[in-house]
Amino acid sequence: MIGNIVAGLYDAGVIEVGDFESIATVTVGAGGATPINFTSISSDYQHLQIRLLAKATSGAFQNIIMRFNSDAGSNYNWHILEGVGSGTPTSGSSVNDSSIYMLQDTSGGYAVAVLDILDYKNTNKYTTIRCLSGADLNGSGKVQMWSGAWRNTAAITSISIAHVSNSFDQYSHFALYGIKG
């Protein structure tokens, strides 16, 4: 057995302080919560990333939606490629939707997602989103790849993540990060 590395001895990282910053974090308490809101997002960064752990208060694989700047108009598109552990993977999409579908969670266990919002402050183009997500429940589960667009050139200053059918259960965790370019 080789390559036994005691973590913490390496301290010559190439990531400069401030290149990838934690902006805000929400951990759901007892009783559940929805939506999760990030507001007054600084324009200091080039991209945003959301890393989350989410569980529904009840029900199986339910949709989680995202909106920007409180926009509930028909200004969102999204696509999904999904594997459910057997059979042929499925794909879906929506155009002119009132929100982006970015994740599905379940009361059976915690789903996770890493979601990138690219060029969020650029006022010359629409905002593009990509997301890798999934939950495995030891005998069931889904792994999903999503992409989406918000057809608005405004800089993003707020993000709302909401549960369509129920609420996010206790210990669900949402972390927003900024990436400098």
Partner: protein, 159 residues
């Protein structure tokens, strides 16, 4: 005080069958293990956590080989198959271990596996333990061995 996105440890191996990260600090929120390289033997990477080889692992996969898209799963396993296909071709594997240091929830792992020679895919895995993760092992089973592979472990800390 850890930085938000910090390299914890790195190694490049040109032989052997196992790479281990031990004594991982609980100071971060998520871990990201970035792997680039290849091995021999026609076998794939195997992931275990906390030196635990009990039947606490499971996963669901989504992948394509350039002709066909597929999805499958494995349940009640002693490890997680951490890449799609074998590790013979030079490839990237990104392993996110989410909320690894909390002692309340089981641990969910997200993997992106990119092998330009044969597969592209994603894996979601579950380690049914609420223990904080302090050790990661990435192994090539017999008859495999590493040829030239780099492993870098990052810690990501939420506010």
């Amino acid at each position: 005080m850890p930085r938000t996105y910090e390299p914890i440890a790195t190694t490049t191996v040109t032989s052997g069958t196992s790479v281990n990260f031990t004594s991982i600090s609980s100071a971060y929120t998520d871990l990201l293990l970035v792997i680039n390289g290849n091995g021999t033997g026609g076998v794939g990477l195997q992931l275990t956590l906390n030196n635990d080889s009990s039947s606490l692992y499971s996963y669901t996969r989504l992948y394509g080989n350039g002709t066909t898209a597929s999805s499958d799963r494995a349940s009640t396993r002693t490890l997680i198959d951490a890449n799609i296909g074998n590790f013979n071709d030079r490839q990237n594997v990104l392993i996110h271990i989410m909320n690894y240091s909390n002692t309340t929830t089981n641990k969910t792992i997200l993997i992106r596996s990119d092998n330009p020679g044969s597969f592209v895919g994603s894996i979601v895995g579950l380690y049914r333990s609420t223990s904080a993760i302090n050790r990661i092992d990435i192994t090539l089973p017999n008859p495999g061995s590493y040829v030239n592979a780099n492993f870098t472990l990052y810690g990501i800390k939420a506010a």
